[in-house]
């Protein structure tokens, strides 16, 4: 591995070989930064009160939007005030101290404290910013559910923001773990928002449970960190690492210390939906779309990337750790992209695309470019949010219709122009079209894979290039199908909101908008624009017409699209840190513990076919992306029948028949997991339950108990529950005890002789 991957690795001699990175120190006077945590909690409280009062106003949404907006402002102020990394103590949480037998003092500390460096701020800026915008979007999107559901939704969003802030800002691994599980819980809450729908309940459950598998890895990694370094606080941990504690630990701790990076990785793969734990994310699309955009695309799923970037120095504890991250990321990117190519549900395609893009980020971490990973997180957050929110607008307007075969030519329909073109921008970014934000961030990763040197990294570079082409193809497959081409649609059969209140009889209403004059549809949309939604009266007849998004949705779409485009600019801004190229984001990374993962200038450089990878990649990846788009154009816009013919030809070819089917069926991964893990455990549960009932309880216990049970029959008169009998019982008990005590010496002596004789 090491020959394939000339990595930064800690040697047993203790030389870290890592570049220095700034470590935070406690700072006073920043207590107000705690507002970033408390504001979402306040909002939760407010939403809870709204839930109790059962208000049907939009109050919960406004409470949430204002609180999150203020949290964003607080983050921005913090950003301007913090240069050197600082630690802000809020209150004591888990604190133990003790003296050992030998009199040494020991302790365990994990406080509610914030570790604020530039990496923290980078993450918090887009988490709170997008959180605010998406809450605003949801205020309209969820308007059909006003009442308790509305409050429940925004309470969930608030919980999520609180947990995510803990995750990113915590100054120790336990607070990170709190956030880690907290976002998992918020995700459970929101995926299961439509709790009367069994599929939503199942998806929520699956997300929580699969995440818990990763969480166990993280927890064990945390324990191992503590038992190796004696602290779970970043400050102490980084100081120890920099002082060569890693080398020392490797000398003494053996394999268990080397397991640290792999356990942390397991946690990261669970939360960020990587192989083998990615299966929950596509199902998570059961949640309302704003949730998918916020949690399952932009913010929560990047927590794994954050974890590995934050703890990058720990990843060097085993030479195979970073290559493992890179390979898992690369393979996940490929697998998810192939699945995404064959799906028909546009929201699911976006979900697989998220999995795939997260794969890129891990690939970036694995080849040592924390900057590339962080930058891709940053750009992806915006453009994927755009894509999800436009999908949501479509779903909202077409009664849950998400099948790209049943939607077409959206951009020709009145009221859908903004949606169509913002989606186009999102698609361009995702496909890595030249000069978009996604183009630069993806290039940073692919180029680094080539320039990293070594065969393994180069192979991953090629893999990433292929996936870039696939990405461009499936992205534009969606856009060409849904937004371009002749206008045509079929309504979905689903109504958000109180499904008991709405008749399910809306049905499919196939037809051409030609049949619905513009005035009709437009008027329909206009009628709703006033109250930015459609309240409770969204039943029967309305279901057959699409209604275009209202002001809140369009506004948010435009703002986030602008952000997605502008996210390319930081690449050209000065990093503000000497010797660090790569723009503003690189500067943000350089100010944190992830700086250890910045490529050292003039380090080992591989080439891309003899060229400088960073320069060559601008051209090569652009070309690959354009090819993907061209193929999508040919198959899904110019001649849509060609796609069906291609599929038919593949299905007709016995040697290749399996391929499209397997891709559509998601490589049967869910089925395999079910057969290999869930079913055996389920059977085992039943077997154990039977063993418990028959072997342990019936055979062992009841048979042994036969004799005393005979005796017990004598007690049955006590059954009556009379107090006299209880008194009698007590007297008897005391007498028994007294007798035993009196004759104990003799008994013991007897016992002693018996045992002595017997032995």
């Amino acid at each position: 591995m090491t020959t394939l991957f000339p990595m930064l690795a800690v040697s047993a001699e203790g030389a870290t070989g890592l570049p220095d990175w700034p470590i935070a120190a406690p700072a006073a006077g920043f207590g107000w930064a705690g507002l970033i945590l408390w504001l979402p909690l306040l909002s939760l409280l407010g939403c809870g009160l709204c839930w109790l009062s059962g208000t049907r106003s939009k109050l919960p949404a406004w409470i949430t939007v204002v609180s999150l907006g203020l949290a964003f402002v607080t983050t921005a102020v913090l950003f301007t005030r913090v240069d050197a990394p600082i630690i802000i103590h809020l209150f004591d949480w888990l604190v133990l101290d003790w003296r050992s037998e030998a009199g040494e003092a020991g302790g365990f500390t994990a406080n509610f404290s914030l570790y604020v460096d530039r990496l923290t701020l980078l993450w918090m800026l887009f988490v709170t910013g997008l959180g605010t915008l998406i809450a605003l979007y949801a205020s309209e999107y969820m308007a059909g559910d006003r009442g308790r559901g509305y409050a429940r939704f925004f309470a969930g969003v608030s919980v999520f923001l609180f947990a995510m802030s803990c995750l990113v800002m915590g100054d120790n691994l336990v607070l990170l773990y709190l956030g880690w599980e907290g976002v998992g819980f918020a995700s459970y809450w929101l995926i299961g928002y439509f709790y009367t729908r069994p599929s939503a309940v199942a998806a929520a459950k699956k997300a929580f449970i699969v995440n818990r598998i990763g969480d166990l890895g993280l927890a064990l990694g945390l324990y191992l960190v503590w038992s190796t370094f004696g602290t779970v606080e970043y400050q102490g941990l980084f100081t120890a690492l920099r002082n060569g504690a890693a080398g020392e630990a490797l000398l003494h701790g053996g394999w268990s210390v080397q397991a640290i990076p792999f356990l942390l990785m397991l946690g990261a793969f669970g939360k960020s939906a990587q192989l083998p734990l990615y299966v929950w994310l596509p199902d998570a699309m059961e949640g309302p779309t704003p949730v998918s955009a916020l949690i399952h695309a932009a913010t929560m799923v990047t927590a794994g990337v954050y974890l590995l970037a934050r703890l990058f120095p720990l990843l060097t504890l085993h030479p195979a750790a970073l290559p493992a991250v890179a390979w898992i990321g690369g393979l996940t990117a490929l697998l998810a992209a192939t699945i995404g190519m064959a799906q028909y549900d546009i929201k699911r395609i976006m979900a697989y695309s998220t999995v795939s893009q997260l794969g890129y980020m891990f690939l970036g971490i694995g080849v040592g470019t924390t900057f590339g990973a962080a930058y891709h997180v940053f750009t992806h957050a915006f453009f994927k949010a755009v894509l999800f929110l436009t999908c949501g607008a479509v779903m909202h307007g077409f009664a849950g219709q998400l099948d790209l075969r049943r939607l077409s030519g959206l951009r020709h329909m009145p009221g859908w122009r903004i949606t169509s073109y913002t989606m186009l921008v999102g698609c361009l970014c995702l496909a890595g079209f030249p000069l978009t934000s996604g183009f630069f961030s993806k290039d940073a990763i692919i180029a680094e894979a080539f320039s990293h040197g070594g065969t393994g990294a180069a192979m991953l570079g090629w893999l990433a290039l292929v996936v870039a082409g696939l990405t461009a193809y499936y992205t534009f497959r969606v856009w060409f199908r849904v937004c371009a081409g002749p206008a045509h649609y079929e309504m979905g059969d689903e109504h958000h909101g109180d499904d008991a209140a709405h008749g399910a009889g809306a049905g499919h209403a196939g037809g051409h908008p030609g049949g619905h004059p513009g005035g009709h549809a437009g008027g329909h949309a206009g009628g709703h624009a006033g109250d930015a939604g459609h309240g409770g009266g969204h039943g029967g007849g309305h279901g057959s017409h699409p209604h275009a998004p209202g002001i809140a949705i369009n506004l948010v779409l435009l703002v986030i699209t602008a952000c997605a485009l502008l996210a390319a600019i930081p690449y050209f801004l000065p990093s503000g840190v000497e010797g660090v190229a790569g723009g503003w984001v690189a500067g943000m990374v350089a100010g944190s513990s992830a700086a250890a993962g910045l490529p050292a200038s003039g380090g080992a450089h591989g080439t891309f076919l003899g060229l400088d990878p960073h320069t060559a990649m601008y051209v090569v990846s652009a070309a690959v992306g354009l090819v993907g788009i061209a193929v999508a154009w040919r198959l899904h816009l110019a001649d849509r029948a060609a796609a069906d013919r291609l599929r038919g030809r593949l299905l007709g070819n016995p040697a290749l028949r399996w391929l499209p089917v397997a891709m559509e069926r998601k490589w049967y991964v869910d089925e395999i997991y079910d057969a290999l893990i869930r079913q055996p455990l389920w059977v085992l549960g039943h077997v154990l339950a039977s063993i418990d009932r028959i072997v342990i309880d019936l055979l062992l216990v009841d048979c042994t108990a036969r004799l005393p049970r005979l005796l017990a029959r004598a007690f049955q008169p006590l059954y009556g529950g009379l107090l006299q009998s209880y008194a009698l019982f007590m007297a008897g008990g005391v007498a028994l005890v007294a007798l035993l005590v009196l004759f104990m010496p003799e008994l013991i002596a007897k016992l002693g002789t018996i045992l002595g004789g017997g032995g």
């Binding site: 009367t196 007690f715 045992l755």
Partner: protein, 597 residues
């Protein structure tokens, strides 16, 4: 003096109830007002006792330094040194406070469920409270044992009279099973007392004296036997795999308050016994057998969790979850380091709160729908939103969501076990290690599975209620008066139509019962320091003996290959060679040799 009040007040209440009025037999009448019935006597009595408990907690001076306080007592059988002495330290006082909190809540929760034979019911509950308090208060071994056993009697009647269909068998099994185990425990404890009398010439049953004597005065072989005897009773009570089968049965059949007290306090008598007697009295044996007991705990965690998964009866599911959860508690205890034991003691409290609340909630559901079968009832979120909110909350607390109480204790237990290796970071060398925590940790995943599956069925999903009661929101009480309590207390001849008296969602009384527990769950999740600071010193003292034994054993034992380095160095053996615990079969021989020698 105040300590004896804690014991006497409930007894006084029980006496008042025994000789007081019988109480109205229908809920409707009782709702209207009569505030003199047994249940109000019981409620007032437990509330007053709780208030006294709060005063006692404020008077107690050992919160920080780990000393014992609130001494009280009288001599009883002076010749034998048997007294009725009482004292508390932070650990026992916290458990008393837990008892004092849960009792009034149980009584208020029983208001609508128990309408027949109220006198006995509330009387026995108060007697039970006195017995449980006595266990934690006792400073005298005999006193301890009497209270310990006496908890069985009221619980027996509570299950046998007010339980479900299978109540007779459950009550009997509960009684016989735990009684048998405790007899062996008694033998073990008496052995210690006898050895003390034999070697020092005076009889005493003073627990601190005996503990101090046992640590040093007993040979390793004797310790092993005593450990076995003590474990026999305490492990049944906990319950530890494989002596747990009484628990699901008793839990399922017991009335709601009975289940709450069983889970909340009675199981803790077992872990408290382990903490108070096993750890300090027989340290050598504890160190030797810690891995063996830990393995049993881990088996219990996984085994209980997998069985939970396939249950249909919600109450049985929560009952088996206790087997799984208490496994964590025992694991933390036998980590033999401050983190693990802190976690374990916290676990006693936290499990009492969250599982107690789950039982309360299931009782509330049962009172309305008369079923606990997950296949027959589901989607309650629509019908009972407030109930569902509490249900999800306590499920999360039970799953160990960080920020709530369950997480802290589970985290400490696992961390304790994880670091309990020979060269531990804690300075307390132990016999467990990372693998123990890794296997026990799977219980975290499984707990999420079975509890969320249960939530998914009962709380979420499409609404369906037994008896074909409609979908959608607003159906009323749902049950005509005729429903009565047929399945619930079928023996009660004077069936009563209280189903209609309960609204579909929780009443104020029921919400009032749940809110204190919920608040504590949050407070203890956010500020566990409130407890851990107070527990630090007593736990250090409880661990002192086993730590010394462990250190000695570490030095004496040749280095284990799998635990890595660290323990080398000062290898002047102290001569105290312990029987190796992984050779459990061989230990018998070792012990026999020692007895002879």
């Amino acid at each position: 003096m105040i300590a004896s009040l804690l014991l006497l007040l409930p007894l006084l209440g029980a006496a008042l109830i025994a000789f007081g009025p019988a109480g109205r037999r229908d809920v409707a009448g009782a709702r209207a007002g009569s505030r003199t019935g047994p249940r109000w006597i019981a409620a007032v009595c437990t509330l007053v006792t709780a208030a006294v408990g709060v005063v006692a907690a404020m008077q107690f001076e050992g919160w920080r330094d780990g000393s014992f306080g609130l001494h009280a007592g009288v001599d009883w059988l002076a010749d034998l040194g048997i007294t009725l002495n009482m004292h508390v330290d932070a650990v026992s006082l916290l458990l008393i406070l837990l008892t004092l909190l849960l009792m009034p809540l149980c009584i208020f929760a029983s208001f609508s469920a128990i309408t027949a034979r109220q006198r006995e019911y509330y009387g026995w509950l108060l007697v039970l409270q006195a017995a449980m308090t006595g266990v934690f208060l006792a400073r005298d071994l005999v006193f301890f044992y009497i209270c310990f056993e006496f908890t069985l009697v009221p619980m027996y009647f509570l299950i046998a009279i007010y339980g479900g269909e299978n109540r007779a068998r459950a009550a009997l099994k509960f009684f016989i099973y735990t009684f048998t185990g405790s007899m062996l425990t008694l033998a073990g404890l008496l052995w210690v007392a006898w050895a003390h009398a034999d070697r020092l010439g005076t009889w005493t049953f003073d627990i601190p004296t005996l503990t101090a004597f046992a640590q040093s005065g007993l040979s390793s072989g004797e310790q092993a036997w005593i450990l076995l005897a003590l474990m026999a009773g305490f492990a049944v009570k906990v319950p530890l795999f494989p002596v747990h089968t009484w628990l699901p049965l008793a839990h399922t059949e017991a009335p709601t308050a009975g289940s709450v007290i069983l889970a909340g306090v009675l199981l803790k008598l077992g872990t408290y016994g382990l903490y108070r007697f096993v750890l300090p009295m027989v340290p050598d044996a504890v160190v030797a057998y810690a891995p063996f007991i830990a393995v049993l705990a881990i088996v219990g965690i996984v085994y209980g969790a997998l069985i939970c998964w396939v249950q249909d009866d919600v109450k049985k599911l929560v009952a088996y979850s206790s087997v799984s959860h208490l496994g964590f508690c025992v694991l933390g205890l036998f980590a033999l380091n401050p983190i693990g034991v802190q976690g374990s003691v916290l676990y006693m409290i936290n499990h009492g709160l969250s599982t107690g609340a789950l039982f309360l909630l299931i009782g509330m559901m049962y009172e309305r729908h008369h079923t606990r079968d997950m296949n027959r009832i589901g989607g309650l979120a629509r019908v009972m939103p407030v109930w569902s909110l509490f249900m999800v909350f306590f499920v999360l607390s039970s799953v160990g969501l960080p920020g709530l109480n369950g997480f802290v204790s589970e985290f400490y237990c696992l961390l304790g076990a994880f670091t309990a290796s020979v060269d531990a970071q804690t300075g307390y060398p132990g016999r467990l290690g990372p693998w123990y925590a890794a296997f026990a940790g799977t219980g975290m995943i499984l707990a999420a599975m079975y509890l969320l599956i249960m939530t998914g069925k009962v709380v979420f999903g499409p609404t369906h209620l037994p008896g074909g009661h409609g979908h959608g929101g607003g159906h009323g009480g749902g049950h005509g008066g005729g429903h009565g309590h047929a399945g619930h207390a079928g023996h009660a001849a004077d069936a009563h139509g209280d189903g209609a008296a309960l609204p579909p969602d929780l009443t104020r009384r029921e919400i009032g019962v749940l809110i204190p527990i919920a608040l504590l769950c949050i407070v203890l999740g956010v500020r566990p320091g409130l407890l851990t600071d107070a527990l630090a010193r007593p736990i250090e003292q409880a661990l002192a003996a086993s730590a010394a034994a462990s250190a000695a054993a570490t030095v004496a034992r040749p280095q284990d290959a799998d635990t890595g380095g660290g323990a080398s160095g000062h290898a002047e053996g102290t001569g105290d060679d312990l029987p190796r615990a992984d050779a459990a079969d061989a230990t018998g021989d070792v012990v026999r040799e020692r007895v002879r020698g």
